[in-house]
Point group: C2
Chain length 403, copies 2
């Protein structure tokens, strides 16, 4: 190799940022490598035991099965909880499409479990400004603003405590809370274009709204952004459950926090929810064949799984019976890891599929039943979310919590 | 000259942007060159005659004397007025210091005259966010937010119609009007980092709030930013009186407007108000010896003029009597051009100073009397501006105007 070759391009490096998740492996993103690269911590058995000890209940299967697999300063949050000191949860959604899909449910299911388990307040940011700024096909912020309210119904259907949850559209809330906008300005002043270029890969062709948006996603990490909700308590620590592609925003936030004498938010990272076609990509609304939507009919779910779900089984039935299936690449098995709560049954299905006694068709049948129940149940709950209920969740107000 | 020399640096080029005004000539900025560079139009005698014809009154001496000297599409505004169609005025202030100075008064005096003459509504933007983002020594947006309210008193003292004027702090209003924030997003999406780099000279070390700020100064040019005030009329044309260093913001705004199907704002540009030390620089709050503040006592005004006002007179009395003074560089004469309303007296003083029959001391005495009256009168009017009156001007509300 020539002496002047300094940049070694690794063709197998995964691309993971808030806009792209692309793995070169059919087993999906190398999360060990990602933890190392991002500098976060693996959630290990000791931490899980500690969570179970302080809460007095088993962790959610998402955590047990490594779906939420990485964190930053989760110990600090557990300590606060042990000392009976308050913390709050913050998560979000970019409302770019009418229908949310299964992957979008993952952080909300975990967040709902965390809220119930720790009995804490929660703020949910709908980044209608971001989605307008990024999506070429979205011509006006009124479109994403409307979607924020539509998507809020799906989020509410996940079962958040109406007395402890504030959902807000950025367009509403930046245009409704001077303290929030002040924090955005405070953060903006501490971050240069050079820094967002390094963190997010922005370049000179990015529009100026995109350039400053990271400050808007950072601001809800600081309780001083919500004077009404937190009664003016400006140092309530924050825990953010999110998919790991959002980590760059919060690395930036954690870097800025001490400069503003704010607390660094803690994080809980999930893996990506794979596309039907396999774990190289994540499920994406912009490719409908990759996604099971929360609006899909029972029939559509059945058809999509049968038609598109990538199989890790043998090429022929004979080969499958002989060699068995590959659990790591089989999308149906991967989805069951997310949504089949019964550990014993999951283990049995895995074992049988691996040895070849269970076929891809059998496994898909199991998955179809699980997803039909999940999505059907979600649709029922969503139908009960009236406009009035949405208004209640989205009204800035003191939450029912003692700080 | 070598063939590869492509960049010709003109050492005599003035620096004029929203943050710096620096001329290499003691006669100040070359405004003809600036008009050519910015691509605006000179206000000529025909246009002045037309203004006087449509309004039925003489133009303000600022316009007559070329203090407001350049424009963009002023004819369009006059046409609308002739057709009895509405327009509105928009101007602003960056609240970076407690005390405003004489130079800050200039756009407001002109704007007040325009409001009175055309009987139109007016919005005044206090860019408390901008000043926080730019000034290293300002540690928190609460400081500039407070200054916005303080400075509003000085602005109100200029005599704006309380029923037709809305003054707003960005922090309040971005945090108070979703429609305003939506327009900011719409503008941001149409402007890249590359463009603000070219227009404003930004580089990668600018903070991300600075990078997106131009969209915030642009937004009030579009009446759709003020649904309450303009009753939802989204295509009311806008006229912006401002010092010409603000033109880059509005060149950008005019470039973006048609892409959003908004109207381009018209502009009326003033020259800079010279520093006491001379026309190479403009009066600046950050150099107190360069400025007469609106809070200065009668004695301070006298002392500052006598001590600092740059003289265009002869080196000795004898020389002055023989050769006379230079009106172009003499700061006292220049200030009298701004604030001595009596045309006949101004002409006489100019003639006598130029021929040497009037000394620098005599001219300063005249100026001191004019400024003591102006500043003293301003202070009296400002004292009558109560907190309650400020609140009235700064409340988003329908203005008393028929659209």
């Amino acid at each position: 190799m020539a002496d002047n070759t300094e940049v070694i391009v690794n063709p197998k490096e995964d691309i993971v940022d808030p806009w792209t998740v692309q793995s070169s492996s059919d087993k999906g993103v190398d999360y060990d490598r990602l933890i190392e690269k991002f500098g976060s911590m693996r959630i290990n058995d000791d931490l899980i035991k500690r969570m179970e000890k302080v809460t007095g209940k088993p962790v959610h299967h998402f955590i047990r099965r490594g779906i939420f697999f990485s964190h930053r300063e989760l110990e600090m949050i557990l300590e606060k909880y042990e000392q009976k000191q308050p913390f709050y949860l913050y998560t979000g959604r970019g409302p770019s499409s009418e229908a949310m899909h299964l992957g979008h449910l993952v952080p909300f299911i975990c967040t709902q479990w965390l809220q119930e388990t720790f009995d804490v307040p929660l703020v949910i940011q709908m980044t209608d400004d971001e989605k307008f700024l990024w999506k070429e096909e979205i011509k006006d912020p009124d479109q994403t603003y409307r979607l924020a309210y539509e998507n809020a119904k799906d989020i509410i259907a996940c079962g958040f405590d109406i007395n402890k949850t504030f959902i807000f559209s950025d367009i509403d809330f930046i245009g409704g809370c001077p303290e929030f906008y002040k924090n955005i300005c405070r953060i903006e002043k501490k971050v240069t274009f050079n820094q967002v270029k390094a963190i997010f890969g922005f370049n000179e062709s990015n529009n100026i709204g995109q350039v400053s948006f990271p400050a808007i996603q950072a601001a809800p990490s600081f309780s001083s952004s919500f004077p009404k909700i937190f009664g003016g308590h400006t140092r309530v620590p924050c825990l953010i459950p999110c998919a790991i592609d959002q980590d760059p925003y919060f690395r930036m936030t954690r870097d800025v926090a001490p400069k503003l004498k704010f607390l660094k938010p803690a994080l809980l990272h999930s893996v990506f929810f794979p596309a039907l076609q396999g774990a190289q990509g994540k499920m994406s609304s912009s490719d409908p064949t990759s996604s099971i939507f929360l609006t899909d009919t029972q029939k559509e779910i059945e058809d999509k799984i049968n038609k598109y779900a990538y199989s890790g089984g043998g090429a022929t039935l004979e080969e499958h019976r002989k060699k068995g299936g590959d659990l790591d690449t089989d999308v149906s098995y991967q989805y069951l890891r997310f949504f089949l709560e019964d550990d014993v049954k999951l283990e049995r299905l895995g074992k049988e599929y691996k040895t070849g006694s269970l076929t891809t068709g059998d496994l898909k049948k199991e998955l179809i039943a699980v997803l039909q129940k999940l999505v059907g149940g979600h649709q029922e709950k969503r139908q009960r979310v009236t406009e009035d209920i949405v208004k209640q969740y989205m009204k800035p107000r003191p939450l029912n919590y003692k700080f």
